[in-house]
């Protein structure tokens, strides 16, 4: 089956920043993303868990599949939001079906 080269960017970011991140991504021309819930984690700022939380606590993982040539725009947009905040960004090489979608 015909596949196309793409980048898979996965950003773990604090939930209160989710809207700002997706807005920045959209403004940078990212046309699609998927948001996964996160149960908990650990990092330099300590251990945390979503259990029992009431407010907009915790983190989410935003996944974007994009054409490789759009990666830099996306990373700039993501970085502008993640910069001062807690969170991690990873990029992997991927193949996608139906390239017209990205």
């Amino acid at each position: 089956m015909q596949t196309h080269t793409a980048k898979r960017v996965e950003i773990v970011i604090e939930a209160p920043l989710e809207n700002r991140l997706t807005k920045a991504l959209t403004e940078a021309g990212v046309t699609g993303f998927t948001i996964l819930p996160v149960l908990g984690g650990s990092g330099r700022s300590g251990v945390w868990t979503r259990e029992g939380q009431v407010g907009r606590a915790g983190m989410v993982q935003v996944v974007c599949l994009i054409k490789p040539e759009r990666l830099d725009g996306l990373l700039d947009a993501a970085f502008s939001v993640v910069e001062k905040h807690i969170g991690v960004v990873s990029i992997t090489d991927a193949q996608v079906l139906r390239a017209e979608r990205f």
Partner: protein, 325 residues
Amino acid sequence: MQEILSLAGANLISPIILSFALGLAAALARSDLTIPEAVAKGMSIYLLFAIGFKGGVAVSTHGIDQTLILSLIAGLILSFGLPLIAFALLRVMTGLSNIDAAAVAAHYGSISIVTFVAATSVLQGRLIDSEGYMVAVAAVMEAPAILSALWLVARSGGGGKMEPGLMRELLLNGSIVLLVGAFFIGAITGEQGLAEISPFIVAPFKGVLCLFLLDMGLIAGRGLRQSRGVVGMGAVGFAIVMPLVGAMIGLGAGLLVGLSLGGVVLMMVLSASASYIAVPAAMRVALPEANPSVYLTLSLGVTFPFNLTLGIPLYLAVAQIVVGG
């Protein structure tokens, strides 16, 4: 004094407080007891809806008091002003950075709706009436403190500029919208509306509050366990002194405005309590450099249990002495 102690004693062995203690103990002992996030959020929605609705019904029944507007204004001023006092205290009592101190101050200008609910519960238990619109005062006090904190940081050149959109987010915050919305629904539908849904929002209210406080205890305990060493004795001292200071200022405001005994107590409780739901989320957006462990430990780990156990009966006793009744 005698009376305060017996009041505090009676307060301490209520199912509500003991549920909180159970959660705290379970978390400190590292039990795996947890309440699912969705259930915790569901309970908080229930509590906000019920408390707002009942406040609205009270207003529809007792009519709008002359003091309503004054109370709202007092709430606004308190929420704007308390962070400044908190900040000054923090500078004296602790070695926190400007930004951390401002973030903590924001929490103490804002309010804890659960502490408010617990106080209402204690008042009801003692058959003391209070103004229904104190719920609206609570809503009004949620957000302004955040602006004061940002101003404190900006003044000291530390960034903390107002993010675009943050203002709208603060005012249209889910808890404020739900509390105020339910208040209006209660005010519009009145006693008749209450009769329709009181088996849902009145009868089981205290039981739900128990489970919710169990959850708060779990979160507070988990936080305390993880933040050992993050906050010093000075900060802990602040988290006990500040509610007392806040309560005294709230007392003054309540008397000035002319609230009833119950209303004065609630004004004290609002001033004394510190936010641990809405403000922390706003701080992550507006002051990301501030350390969440510090403000969460102080507001949820120290001030919240202090108010719940000793604070509320103390404020009530003081108000009774001052107001009489």
